[in-house]
Every structure is written in structure tokens, then in C-alpha cells.
Symmetry: C2
């Protein structure tokens, strides 16, 4: 039986509570014998700072580099507002992304039919929405040099950021997107500003070439990034996979997330290059939501985005597609039955707690798998 | 009586037809004696290319520079697909923007109650929407240097665009936004990425300082640009004026436009520095929609965005605020009475033509002003 090695980093705030539910789901899949999941815990974020004076210790980093997948909760909270900038809780995530070289950020926008009314869009436009935004995460204008503010001789200031992409950076993110589309509806939309940006011209050329030479079975369209934002608002279901750069992906993934009407329900994955020995890509999975310190410790946090993040690990790190589908169906199932944590409760529904939601998902897994 | 000097540039496609309706509206206001409007026509775009071999002649440019406001229709069409790049129809608009130094692009997103159902958002979220996006139009990553694609020694390519803003560029666009907010609901939201971009840090600092020192009566909030895109989808009516850079404005103005459900209804303005003699800002007004060559000459084009663009000229170039309000009310009035051109017709409504829509707006102006 294949064995997978997970590092669980619950983090701060509600991280611990929602990770507890993930563990039950991991154990459920382990007990079914689909694979052997070995996992260990470690501190990250504010809790790691309290213990070690750093947002992530070197020992934890070594474990993350050795793991088949890192399952990350959420970090931060008012308790650590005053800590030095380079050891603030959020620094842990940046360090993990950097050292694991996680260049591909996968942001699914899924609208569960049971929650479609929570969207600001009309139900028919978002019900059943299932698109995947693939954002380049380690290049572009957030990282390019020069990046500075200088004071000119006349006292004026001048700020510069540099949007920079090389052909290999674009090739590797394009391949991730095409590979993902192959396992979905075989359609990729590449969003760029080729009309006004040289990086958009190169992006367009490289994605076109990779598509033609290596993925002739996947349909590719190009869309101007601003038009893509409009189209997401107008008719989001027209898309399958959208691949885009760091800056545009930052915006488009948030627009897509907001369409679903339930930001607290969305998982994400960040993938790196394949490991030299296992061939598996370095990977970190985390919910899109934060550590919600205001409701931490109350047992009312919604564990679905965290559990769905483990679902992405099943699909993208472990190749357990049927199991990932099963977990997604179990989540949709409990929602269809009316179960709601406080964050997604509407009039006429009684909110349940974190553990009760976990219980229900486990029960639904039992039902769906017999 | 104050005299204003307009240059009308109908352009190509439906430009001529919709500009004809604008002329009737100008004449209506002239006949009422609110001001003396002098206007002349000229060619621009493909029609100018056909006549002079250039998208805009030097004589036309001289008139544009001397005018109190340029009213621009739309340019382009398949007829000119093969003309050289630097004399293509769109080059006229770029030349006008550059020579008139139109650094402030005003994009109102207005949702007429009568058309709210055309939005992909739920009616209650967009009905009565009235926000104004102020986009910096001549700086930022679309123009900064270096801007190039180079081939490296190893054969790889490297593309660079440069996001660059100076403090005076940010000051002047901030002042435009604060001035506009003062005549509206006195609220400005500045959208930037101060968390990851140095240009965002400088933008934040300068807008904050201008607001504090010169516009203490206007409420200022800062919002991360990606969050702003989300908020526009979630609850757009929370905003009054949004000020942002060229790139973010390109995206946010399109998202905001799409919320209204009727892209063909939206006007825009581009403003430059105040003229040395008149004190009036250089200004160009144009509909957001294009030249629609497919329906040109059929008398079915919707003239509302073009007429509303003249309404913006009344408001922003001529200071005729009551008259601008009157024209806006007249447009809303004919829509409320059910009048629809083909582009906005729904089941149960009979589409009218371009001239009939102009007739109705003139008639409504008569009714509202007596
Ligand atoms: Mg974002
Ligand atoms: Mg745009």
C-alpha cells in the first residue's frame, strides 16, 4: 500500500479546531485502506513564535521539505500584532512558499447548489459553478527588481515595481494549467494584457506554444485580463481553467471566490516542482479564509474549507481522484441536507458547531461509500 | 452668456448616427439660453484615414487643443483592418489622450432602475448604483520603461514592464478624485496594493497626505485593489468615488461597468490639466462602447451613452450641474417609460430606433423643464 507523509500545521486561531476535523477525515480514508497516511503536527505562525521566537522553525522547515504534502491551517491574530516584521506569523507562509518553491497557486471557485443563494449573482449564473484559477505565485510585479521608492533631487518621490517573467517561468505554470485541464473539461483560458504589456505578449506566445506542442487535446483561448474580470461577473460558467500571472491572478481569484458567495468555504493548493526522489510536486494546501481570532476556541468555526483543502491533496498530491471526488460529494451532501455552521447559516437553519460538521461529513462519507 | 467651444468627432460606424442625437441635445440646451455652445465637426479614425491618410490630422489636433471639450464617438471597423499600425483608427484616440495630456479617466457605473434586471447581480445590489471610478490614464505599467522582451544568452526570453509613478502624478489624480467626491457623497476609496508594491506604498502615502491637507471634508478609505474587485461584486453601492492607478483602473472600471448590466449605456470622460487661459481642464468625452460596424447605418444604435457623455461635459467641463442633472433625469425617465433600443430590449418591449430615442429624450427634457 502506498504511504504518504503529511505535515499538519494548524497554526493560530481557529486553525487547531478545523485541523482536528481534517485529522478525522484523514483517519477515515486511512482506515478504508486506500493508502497509508502518516502525519505529524508542528507549530507555525504565532504559536511557533511563542515557542521558538520564529514564525516557523528550521526543524519544521526540514519536515515541510520532506513531506509529500503540507496541510496548513491559518496564522495570525491580534496577540502578535507587535512582533518584529520578519518573525510575524504571516512570515511562515512566505518562507514555506519560497523554500518549497511553490510557483503554482490553485484557487478553485466552487458554488455548492445548496449555497447558491448566498452569492450576489443570480442563482442560475453560479449554481454548480466549478472553475479553477491557476495563478503564478513566485514571479511578476510583486517580486521583480528594481522595487523601490527613491527621492529625486527636486524632492519628488518616484516608486518603481518591475513586472518580470522569463519563458521557463511561463512554461512551467502553463504546463500545470494544461495538466489540470486535462483532468477536467479540457479548456484553458489564458488571461493577460498582451495589448499593452510586453510580459503579456511573451505570456501569450509561450502559453500558445506549450499548448500547441504538448497539449493539442486541450482547447486554449486567450482573454484580456480586464475582460476576464468582466466575464467572470457576466457569465462565470463559461470557464474551466484560467491561467494567469501573479498580479492578475491575485485579483481574478478573489473575484471568482466572491462569486460563490461563501468565501469561508474555499480551499487552495500551492504546488512546486516535482520532488527528485518521489516525483511528487512539493505542495501546500490551505483554506482561503484566515485564522478568525474572534471566534477561535468557541467550537463554531466552519471546517469545510480546511477539509476541502485535504481533498485537493488527495487529488493533486496523492492521485486519489475517486477519493477526492467522494470527499467533495460528502461536503456537498451535508450542505444539501441543510447542515450549516454559523458563518453560512441563513434564516430557518440552526447553526451547528465545528465537530458536528465534521461528524456529518464522516457520516456522509460512510453513507456514500457503502 | 458664457460661450463654450466644442469639437465633435463622430468617428466611424455608429459614431455619426449617435452624434447626430447629441447635436440635437446640445441645440436644445443652447436654445434654452443656459450658455452658448459653438461646435464644429471633424473626421477622426478610419474616416480621417480615408480622407487624409492619418487617423487624426494636424488641423484636427489643433482644433482639439483649442476646444473647451472634445466629444468623441467611436472609431474603427473591419474596413481598416489592413491599414498600417501607426495610422490605424485607434491611433487617433491615443494621440488625443497624449497631446491633450488626459491623465484622469472618469468611468461612472450607473445602474438605471429600469434596467437593473439586466445585471448578473441581484436587483437589490445594483438598483440605483452610482459610483465613479477615477483611473490614472497616462502613467503606470502600461507606459513605464524599460518595456521590452529580450532573448538571453541561453536562448530563454525575458519580458519586462515597469510600473512607475511619481509623487506629482499621484497628487494630481488624487485631487481630481477628491474634487469629484466633494460634488458627490464626499467619500473616496483609494485602491492600491500597498502590501506588495512600492508604487502602492507611495500611492497610499500621497493620497493620504493630499486628503488630510487639502480635503479634510472628504472621507478617505484605502482598500487593497484585489479586495476592491471583490467588494464591487459583493456590495458595490458601498462606494462613491474610487481612485486607482492605470492597471487596477483598467480592471476595476470594467468590473464596475459589468455590474450595471448595460455596457452600451455608459459614458466616460478623460480630463487633463487646466487650460492656461480658460482655466478649464482639457477634456474628451466618449461612450464606453465601440463603433459597432455590424449595425452601423441601420438607425438602430443606442445613442444614450453618447448623450450621457455630453452630460458629463455639461457637468465637468462647463460647470452646468443643474443641466447635467436634468439630462440624466431625462435619460432615466425615457427608460422608466419603457423605451428601449434593440441592444437593451427585453421580452415585452418594442425596440425603437436611434432617432426615436433622441426624440424621446428631447421630449422628456421639455417635460422635465416646464
Ligand atoms: Mg488576492
Ligand atoms: Mg479595461
Amino acid at each position: 500500500m502506498t504511504s504518504f507523509n503529511l505535515l499538519l500545521l494548524p497554526g493560530d486561531g481557529i486553525g487547531t479546531e478545523i485541523m482536528a476535523e481534517v485529522k478525522r477525515v484523514i483517519d477515515w480514508f486511512g482506515a478504508r485502506g486506500v493508502a497509508s497516511f502518516e502525519y505529524e503536527h508542528d507549530l507555525v505562525g504565532g504559536s511557533a513564535y511563542d515557542a521558538h521566537g520564529k514564525a516557523v522553525s528550521e526543524a519544521t522547515m526540514a519536515k515541510a521539505l520532506a513531506a509529500d504534502a503540507v496541510i496548513f491551517g491559518a496564522v495570525g491574530g491580534p496577540k502578535w500584532d507587535g512582533v518584529p516584521y520578519d518573525v510575524r506569523p504571516e512570515a511562515a507562509l512566505l518562507r514555506l512558499r519560497k523554500d518549497l518553491a511553490l510557483f503554482a497557486n490553485l484557487r478553485p471557485a466552487i458554488c455548492y447548489p445548496a449555497l447558491a443563494d448566498a452569492s450576489s449573482l443570480k442563482r442560475e449564473l453560479v449554481e454548480g459553478l466549478d472553475i479553477l484559477i491557476v495563478r503564478e505565485l513566485t514571479g511578476g510585479v510583486y517580486f521583480g527588481e528594481p522595487k523601490e521608492i527613491v527621492t529625486l533631487e527636486n524632492g519628488q518621490k518616484r516608486a518603481v515595481d518591475t513586472q518580470l517573467y522569463t519563458s521557463p517561468e511561463i512554461e512551467r505554470i502553463a504546463r500545470v494549467a494544461f495538466d489540470l485541464a486535462r483532468a477536467r473539461n479540457k479548456r484553458v483560458a489564458s488571461a493577460e494584457k498582451r495589448n499593452v504589456m510586453k510580459s503579456g505578449v511573451l505570456w501569450n506566445q509561450i502559453v500558445t506554444r506549450v499548448g500547441k506542442e504538448e497539449y493539442a487535446d486541450v482547447a486554449l483561448e486567450h482573454v484580456l485580463a480586464d475582460n476576464c474580470a468582466m466575464q467572470l461577473v457576466r457569465r462565470p460558467k463559461q470557464y474551466d481553467v484560467i491561467v494567469t500571472d501573479n498580479l492578475f491572478g491575485d485579483i481574478l481569484s478573489d473575484v471568482a471566490a466572491m462569486l460563490t458567495g461563501s468565501l469561508g468555504m474555499l480551499p487552495s493548493a500551492s504546488l512546486g516542482a516535482p520532488d527528485a526522489t518521489t516525483g511528487r510536486r512539493k505542495a501546500l494546501y490551505e483554506p482561503v479564509h484566515g485564522s478568525a481570532p474572534d471566534i477561535a476556541g468557541k467550537g463554531i468555526a466552519n471546517p469545510i474549507a480546511m477539509i476541502a483543502s485535504f481533498g485537493m491533496a488527495l487529488r493533486y498530491s496523492f492521485g486519489l481522484v475517486a477519493e477526492a471526488d467522494l470527499l467533495d460529494r460528502a461536503i456537498a451532501g451535508v450542505l444539501a441536507k441543510g447542515l450549516r455552521t454559523a458563518d453560512i447559516a441563513t434564516a430557518g437553519t440552526t447553526p451547528c458547531g465545528t465537530t458536528a460538521m465534521g461528524d456529518a461529513i464522516i457520516a456522509e462519507l460512510d453513507i456514500l461509500s457503502t
